[in-house]
Amino acid sequence: MGLIQKSRVKSPWILHFDNSSCNGCDIEVLACLTPLYDVERFGMVNMGNPKHADILLITGPVNRRTARVLKNLYEQVPDPKVVVCVGTCGATGGVFHNCYNVLGGVDKVIPVDVYVPGCSVRPEAIIDGVVMALQKLASMR
């Protein structure tokens, strides 16, 4: 692997965005940052800023309002980027999929690379999903 590709795997910066989730998955994402799971040892840092991020960690189903926001944020993230969808809500709409303002899963709006199922997702599964996304990131140009 080239130096830059190795660095991409070793230094994934995360943008965590909550569409309209119940916050259960968000709490689990934040739990990953705590000393018990400590994702920072993999170089993962939660950046609040799309322009600094490589991985978009998205929770919750997409509704009409957040579709616009999600598209805006996705465009602000520079390439190469991967999208990780956390929770069943992000994959298919989950328990909310029949609501009047819910459009469905995240892949209705932006292309998704990794789906992490669960409701709410366990931190180990989130880390597993991000690592899978990193492998995809490493193979990008």
């Binding site: 800023n49 799309p50 322009k51 309002r65 616009r68 926001v69 999600l70 598209k71 805006n72 944020l73 465009e75 602000q76």
Partner: protein, 652 residues
């Protein structure tokens, strides 16, 4: 030869002024101004080439003419005081005219002083500044006043009257810096005050007349002090030979309390330079059209005040008065820098910054070592160029957006990229290395430890200047993501002075080593002998201690390497890095931007999905640095310092 040079320097502007009054056509008037400007510039260069000399005009009773004109001006002030019912103007006109009459008729003073004019290197430096920068500003004023009157929809044009006073002023300034006879110096001083009054009140609005009257009475207190100093000198030193500036600075005064007239004249300089607590007249003068602010209130007239203090420096060297003057200047530098942070109008920021830098120059004169005097002279030159440029930029911006407020200048880089570029370079040249203003401030800081409290004030004021300049520049540069800003067209009357001054900043800054060695050193030695700046190698300025036996190096300023670093840091990226349209992204507004994905939108969806414009404002910290908070205690301390300055001379 000397006759014609002096006549051109002092009398040509008067003649040209009357010619301008007579000419009504815009282009002919402009041609007269440009021709006068070119002749004055050539004349000043001729002064430089000729070198120092002395001169006494013959063939006409000039002294009588000056006396008559003196009374004329003072009677005019009385008239203004009465017609405006302004008691302060009236009182301070009386306090000048009564002692003057006493001096003339009761003391039967004989005021023949030879030589009447002494043109030494310091005067030549001043006349270069006046002639070159002053002429450029007069050229700028041609088009500026035309646009100004157009915007105000005036029926009757007053441009001739404006240009008359502007050009006449140049002659008065030249006379001021050459004069050796104190009474003649007083006359030229009063003419500059008169021009100041006429030009500030030019628009004839209530505010303009009120502020012009304030400028008048504050400067009149200085004039009073000057007259009292003249009378004291004549009475105690026994005769007219004491009324020669060369005698005073050459140590030719005897007796007790010789410092009192010197202190009074320094007070006069402080009022002209709008030091605290007199800063309000300069701030009020900002209502005038921009060429007035550029010429009188930054480059030239206020420089007459500091010129007087620097000229008198040998007279108070090594005395208590020197330290007192250094404290007055240093405290003004600090106080007005603090006040500048809270100002929302561009010209008021420039005004406070001007007063601050004048305070720095006066403090350098007070510190009174070869190093600090060299710093003072360098600061006079660099400040005149940079601040003149900034005022002209402020005027150009005003005529593009028709506002003087900094908040209205937000995003000017898109509307007027060329003006913004010139203004940005002007602002950076005021406080950053390697430009000349910072060089002067660096030398001043390296020289300042002799009066350590002044050094502390320099440090605090330096910090505050960074804040307000960066804030303003930031507002100018704040743009939306957009490519391809069209470059605006500037009229030649605006463009020529702006570009000349901008190039001047770089030329004089880069060449400061040879310029100092061959020219400014001689001017410094007119005030204090000794040289502490050596220029080595690639224009490296090395500051040394003044001892002859063992020169120790105080500090080093490598001029050319620093300009090279500046080019690599800012100019190369500016020219070489491009941005493609596909690479443009919107700013981060939490994803809530409206505009359907276009990057150059500043509207966003607020509550209930209403589309709102994003509004950003500058920070002015009015509750900390505002005039209401700072002025009471700062003015009190400044008054105390002035009282200590003059009173201490009497007591100690």
């Amino acid at each position: 030869m000397a006759d014609s040079m002096m006549a051109i320097a002092i009398l040509l502007p008067v003649v040209a002024g009357f010619l301008i009054l007579a000419v009504r056509n815009y282009f002919a008037r402009g041609a007269v101004v440009i021709l006068t400007a070119l002749i004055l510039i050539a004349n000043s260069i001729y002064f430089t080439l000729k070198g120092p000399f002395t001169y006494t005009p013959g063939g006409f009773n000039w002294g009588l003419l000056i006396t008559i004109l003196d009374y004329g001006i003072l009677i005019f002030y009385l008239y203004i005081g009465i017609s405006l019912r302004n008691w302060l103007v009236l009182i301070f006109a009386l306090t000048q005219i009564i002692p003057l009459a006493y001096f003339e008729f009761v003391m039967k003073a004989h005021i023949e002083v030879t030589p009447a004019f002494v043109i030494d290197n310091l005067s030549i430096v001043m006349t270069l500044v006046i002639s070159i920068i002053g002429s450029l500003i007069c050229i700028y004023a041609i088009r500026y006043m035309y646009d100004h009157e157009h915007h105000l929809h005036l029926e009757k044009s007053k441009q001739s009257r404006f240009l008359f006073w502007l050009v006449l002023f140049l002659g008065a300034m030249n006379g001021l810096v050459f004069a050796n006879n104190l009474v003649w110096l007083y006359f030229f001083w009063e003419v500059t005050t008169l021009c100041c009054y006429q030009l500030i009140s030019h628009d004839r609005t209530e505010l303009a007349i009120k502020n012009a009257a304030r400028a008048l009475w504050m400067n009149a207190t200085g004039g009073t002090a000057f007259i009292l100093a003249i009378i004291y000198l004549y009475a105690t030193q026994g005769g007219a030979n004491a009324l020669s500036m060369q005698t005073i600075i050459g140590g030719g005064l005897q007796g007790t309390l010789v410092l009192l007239p010197v202190a009074l004249m320094c007070y006069t300089g402080c009022t002209k330079a709008a030091q605290m607590p007199f800063q309000s007249w300069l701030l009020g003068a900002m209502v005038a059209p921009t060429p007035v602010s550029a010429l009188l209130h930054s480059s030239t007239m206020v420089k007459a005040g500091v010129y007087l203090v620097v000229r008198l420096a040998p007279a108070f060297a090594g005395t208590y008065l020197s330290i007192a003057i250094a404290m007055v200047g240093a405290f003004t530098f600090f106080g007005t820098s603090a006040l500048a942070i809270s100002q929302t109008t561009g010209k008021r920021v420039l005004a406070y910054s001007t007063i601050a830098n004048l305070g720095l120059i006066i403090a350098c004169a007070g510190i009174n070592t070869p190093l600090s005097i060299a710093a003072a002279i360098m600061l006079i030159i660099f400040h005149a160029i940079s601040k003149g440029l900034l005022f002209l930029c402020a005027g150009t911006i005003e005529h593009q957006i028709w506002s003087r407020e900094i908040e209205d200048m937000e995003g000017l880089a898109v509307k007027a990229p060329l003006t913004t570029l010139i203004t940005a370079v002007g602002i950076l040249s005021m406080f950053l290395p390697p430009f000349g203003m910072l060089l002067g401030k660096w030398i001043a800081l390296e020289a300042a430890y002799i009066v350590p409290l002044a050094a502390v004030f320099f440090v605090l004021a330096s910090t505050l200047t960074i804040v307000f300049w960066t804030k303003w520049l930031g507002r100018l540069l704040q743009v939306l993501p957009k490519l391809g800003w069209p470059i605006e067209r500037l009229s030649p009357s605006y463009a020529v002075p702006l570009w000349t001054l901008l190039i001047g900043i770089f030329v004089i800054g880069i060449g400061i080593g040879p310029i100092y060695q061959n020219f400014l050193l001689a001017a410094t030695n007119n005030v204090i002998s000794g040289n502490q700046i050596i220029s080595l190698g690639l224009n490296n300025l090395v500051l040394t201690t003044p001892s002859f036996l063992q020169r120790e190096i105080l500090g080093v300023f490598p001029v050319w390497p620093l300009y090279l670093i500046l080019i690599v840091a800012l100019l190369l990226p500016f020219l070489m890095i491009g941005l493609k349209p596909t690479e443009l992204r919107p700013v981060y507004m939490c994803g809530e931007q409206a505009g359907g994905g276009a990057p150059d939108t500043d509207e966003w969806f607020a509550e209930a999905d209403t589309v709102t414009k994003c509004q950003l404002g500058g920070y002015y910290y009015q509750n900390i640095f505002g005039e209401k908070r700072v002025c009471p205690w700062a003015n009190a301390i400044a008054i105390l310092l002035l009282v200590i300055m003059i009173g201490g001379v009497i007591v100690l």
